[in-house]
């Protein structure tokens, strides 16, 4: 069941929802981009529907609620430890199909990868429901169709599509129906829009032969890539983190443990005791990243890590195209066979 709402009615729905939920949605942050007077679309909490960016693809991923870039996990003093507090109000995260498909990958790593579930991930995960922002068209660099994440059949409580200044919402979750019914009597069967074809198409090799590891295709990235890590920080499926144990300087016995996002492209990622570093060259780091996204993860879990959102391409300051590299890997894999 669904609804067609005016923008005003939609605003009223969001206002009502925000009484019971914290809404975490893409927001156009004026001037927050790298360059002067350039905006960035970043996730933030909103109460006002006008603040939600429904047109542009977000620059940074919706994962920032589940895995914040920086989060204090616990505080410690001498022999005691206290977990950090967490706002336990439920959260609605607005995301596109790629974002919602990325959730399965995050859950896989944090909840279903070995014996333990990550408690700090889980306590956030338990609070979240997803709202689907439909895609009326493909964006720059998207290749979600190739990665089969252009569509989600479930996993969202309601959808929103901005069509000719009206909001179309499909509301599969009955608990949410009341929010819509209150402000709109135009009930219609609407389905969230999704993209059936992207301009960018990739063929992912079924298996990548070992020889690709030493293939010369990685070499150019040693000089082209500046190992800034942007491609990881914006990626909805990157899950790596590192820890910071911090002692407050005026005490020395009290402190906190933080977890912060890590990037396999940035220096320090493979540092080991004794000063060793496994992947020094950016080309090697690129190989690790790409093969993790489209081969190694699949070997372990049976599906690809990458959802084809193209955010890594969007943000790369050096115009390195991840989807283009997949094509090169495909070619190199084929040549071996």
């Amino acid at each position: 069941m669904g609804y067609v709402l005016s923008r005003e009615a939609f605003a009223a729905v969001i206002a009502d929802l925000s009484k019971n939920y914290r809404i975490f949605a893409p927001v156009r942050k004026e001037g927050a981009g790298r360059f002067t007077d350039v905006d960035a679309v970043i996730y933030d909490y909103v109460c006002d529907s006008e603040k939600i960016e429904l047109e542009a693809k977000s620059d940074y991923a919706s994962k920032e609620f589940l895995t914040p870039l920086s989060e204090t996990l616990l505080y410690f003093t001498e022999n005691e430890v206290k977990e950090s507090d967490l706002d336990t109000r439920p959260v609605l995260v607005f995301g596109r199909s790629c974002d919602i498909n990325s959730l399965k990958r995050l859950d896989q790593i944090y909840l279903d990868n070995g014996l333990a579930k990550d408690p700090f991930y889980k306590r956030r995960r338990d609070l979240v429901k997803y709202v689907l922002i439909g895609c009326g068209h493909s964006y720059d660099n998207c290749f979600c169709v190739s990665m089969e994440s252009n569509k989600c059949d479930d996993g969202y409580v309601f959808s929103i599509d901005l069509v000719e200044d009206n909001i179309q919402s499909n509301v599969p979750d009955k608990d949410f129906d009341k929010y819509f019914a209150q402000h709109c009597n135009d009930k219609k069967d609407v389905a969230p829009r999704y993209v059936k074809e992207n301009e960018v198409k990739v063929a992912v090799p079924d298996s990548v032969p070992l020889s690709v590891i030493t293939d010369a295709l990685w070499d150019e990235y040693t000089t082209r890539c500046i190992n800034c890590g942007r491609c990881n920080y914006v990626c909805p499926t990157c899950t790596c983190y590192t820890m910071q144990d911090v002692f407050y300087s005026d005490n020395g016995k009290v402190g906190e443990r933080r977890r912060v996002g890590a990037s396999c492209m940035v220096d320090g990622y493979t540092d080991v005791a004794g000063g060793g570093q496994y992947r020094r060259k950016n080309g090697e780091r690129m190989r690790f990243k790409v093969l993790h996204k489209i081969s190694d993860f699949k070997k372990r879990f049976g599906y690809h890590m990458c959802v084809g959102c193209g955010r890594c391409d969007d943000i790369c300051p050096e115009y390195i195209s991840f989807s283009n590299i997949i094509g090169k890997v495909y070619q190199a894999s084929k040549e071996v066979k």
């Binding site: 790298r34 360059f35 940074y60 870039l69 920086s70 890590g229 300087s249 996002g261």
Partner: protein
């Protein structure tokens, strides 16, 4: 050539050059901010072909000179230049008569935030606003705008140099301690950042507001301040007596104050310029040297309300070579 009877003073004021080639002149096109539309550029080409020698000089101060024009063609050239003047919105009391003055030089700007990744503000727009604020005026004043501390526009050679600044805003919750900002501030700028307990600390005295940290932060932990700020450097000059670089005067200045201070400077010049100056031309710096900096400041700050962030260098000292005192 027949008999030529030309008022050279008027010719110069009308933005024509006194040429070493007798009977010839060059038409000087004013291009505030160094940005000209392609139609106007086409007209420059036409004038050069019709009245000049098909040659166009690009000047040091981002203007254009069309040489080889006959002194007898000046009126016709002025008629044709009108469309360029209109298009570039140059202030003019009377249409069709060419440029009303040339003393206040073309206002320079680097590409700034319209093109350059490091530009901290729209240099072109500010330059055009400044032009509109002060032109026409016969006083010899040089103003230059540059987008960031790289100073590609070489504003330290001008009477007023305006250098873009941003005040980096830090969101510790987005910082992952990757150290890109720290490394690049050190390598490309002044080294004002350090990592303390996993978060970045900025030495606010050391920071020059170049925005390099913002450009390199991969997570948007660093962003630019909403306000655009400026470093105002003053009284740089080239020339025979005492060439010198402009020195820092105000850090974190605002646009409105800068416009006002430059405007105020003209009143100061009228009051104190050497009445016997050659061609009524004297670099402001020499006037300031004569009246003392305190007197200059008094005039400059008339009606100016600097923002709360502004840091004023109350005593400015200049260096440079003093050929006039100690010879070459």
């Amino acid at each position: 050539m027949g008999k030529l009877d030309i008022n050279v003073g008027k010719l110069k004021k009308n933005a024509f050059r006194y040429s070493k080639v007798r009977g010839e002149t060059a038409s000087r096109i004013r291009i505030p901010g160094g940005v000209i539309d392609s139609k106007s550029m086409g007209r420059v080409v036409e004038i050069a072909e019709k009245y000049g020698t098909g040659v166009i000089n690009i000047t040091n101060r981002q203007g254009i000179e069309i040489p080889g024009i006959k002194l007898t063609d000046m009126e016709k050239v002025n008629a044709e230049v009108q469309l360029i003047i209109d298009s570039l919105r140059i202030n003019q009391p009377e249409k069709g008569k060419g440029y009303p003055s040339s003393g206040t030089r073309n206002v320079i700007a680097c590409p700034g935030a319209r093109l350059c990744p490091f530009g901290c503000y729209d240099t072109t727009a500010f330059a055009q606003k400044m032009e509109n604020n002060i032109f026409p005026n016969d006083r010899h004043v040089k103003i230059a705008f540059t987008g960031c501390s790289n100073d590609c526009a070489k504003v330290r050679m001008a009477d007023f140099g305006i250098i873009g600044m941003t005040e980096p805003q830090y969101n510790k919750d987005r910082c992952v301690a990757c150290k890109a900002c720290i490394n690049f501030c050190k390598r490309r700028s002044v080294g004002a950042l350090e990592l303390v307990n996993g978060k970045v600390v900025r030495d606010t005295d050391k920071c020059i507001g170049c925005g390099v940290c913002v450009a390199y932060c991969p997570t948007r932990a660093w962003t630019r301040s909403r306000e655009h700020y400026f470093r105002l450097v003053i009284m740089g000059r080239t020339g025979k007596k005492n060439p010198r670089l402009a020195e820092d005067f105000i850090k974190w200045a605002d646009e409105e104050s800068i416009l006002k201070m430059v405007k105020n400077t003209y009143a100061y010049i009228e009051e104190y310029i050497d009445p016997n100056a050659v061609e009524h031309k004297e670099h402001i710096g020499y006037i300031v040297d004569r009246t003392g900096f305190e007197e200059f400041k008094k005039w400059l700050f008339e009606g100016v309300n600097l923002g709360p962030k502004a840091e004023v260098n109350q005593r400015v000292y200049w260096g440079g070579r003093h050929y006039d005192k100690y010879g070459g």
